[in-house]
Amino acid sequence: MADLEQMKKGWKVLDENLQKSEIINHEQIKKIIMEKFETTIEKWQRRNILSLFTALVILIPFDINLFLKGFTLQAVLFLLVLIFLGVFSAMKIRQLHKWNIHETPPAKLMTQINTFRLKRKQFILYFMPFVLGFVIYVLSMNHVFDKYQWMGFATGLILGSVVVLIKQRKTYKDIQDNLKELVELQNEK
């Protein structure tokens, strides 16, 4: 295995060089972990603020429209759900803002992050079907959307899906390539 042996020689040289230097110190390891936490929490904060803002911009005019068209009960119910979601979202933003990233030990912060993730998943699991069901009820019972609005809604949905697909394509391709190679490897005799 001439080339592999040649690589082995180079590998030994690399190993010797590495033995002479300190690659990473304790403070840097800590910093890496903390920086990751900070990025994750910032990302969540941004996402929460954006969702809240988008929901308000889209749903408040919709609710006003319902009210103006005379669907008072639906408008009030919709507003109540909206208020609940808004308060919930604001509480999450506040909670994330209160986390003291620099003074909490990584292990404790990790627990907080995992709990937050779990609660978010539980919320989506239990509450979102209810919200979606309610929105569909409001839309379908009162024919609020006319033909063109439904078309706009469908176009938006398709465009959104295309953007997500394009964004994920590279990731999928890489994973697929790796999987293909692994399957070939397993099948080799």
Binding site: Q19, S21, I23, N25, K30, K36, N178
Partner: protein
């Protein structure tokens, strides 16, 4: 074990195995920035998985598994901000010393001809792991390791003849 103790234990283990992590990342990185990013990704993933480590395997085996998984699934995002944490040590320069630069350049040229999975197998081969150990870490049989290493040998030979 308290949070502080867990943290201390983890930092100690990473310190002990820092060279090993470096070598895994070296195998997959295409430049110094990527090496730095990969190194940090591996440390973060090891930290995430630390609580799941039960000591059934050696910690180094655990590092190989998580490190290789991280590197194989790592996708560089061009728009990404430069390195998460600017490490004070220039990781790229550690490997480069003038008197053996030629050997390392050749090593890197050969590494770059391998696919991600091949790199994993070659890394473990270079680390003098047995075929059984390679198979256990990568998740294939001993026989497949031998076949794959032979294929890699042929591939490298063909490449050098071109």
């Amino acid at each position: 074990m308290t949070s502080k103790e867990t943290e201390k234990e983890f930092i100690g283990l990473i310190g002990q195995h820092s060279r090993l992590i470096y070598k895994i990342c070296y195998m997959y990185a295409s430049d110094g920035d990527e090496l730095n990013d990969l190194y940090q990704e591996v440390v973060i993933n090891l930290w995430r998985a630390h609580e799941a480590f039960r000591g059934e395997a050696k910690y180094s085996t655990w590092i190989y598994r998580i490190g290789l998984n991280t590197c194989v699934s790592y996708i560089r995002q061009k728009s990404r901000k430069p390195s998460l944490v600017p490490l004070t040590v220039d990781l790229e320069s550690i490997a480069e010393e003038e008197n053996n630069a030629e050997q390392l350049r050749e090593l890197y040229r050969l590494i770059n001809q391998l696919s991600k999975i091949e790199k994993a197998i070659v890394l473990l081969y270079l680390e003098e792991k047995t075929y059984d150990e390679i198979g256990e870490i990568v998740g294939i049989t001993r026989g497949n390791v031998a076949v794959k290493l032979n294929r890699i040998k042929t591939k490298l030979k063909e490449m050098s003849n071109q």
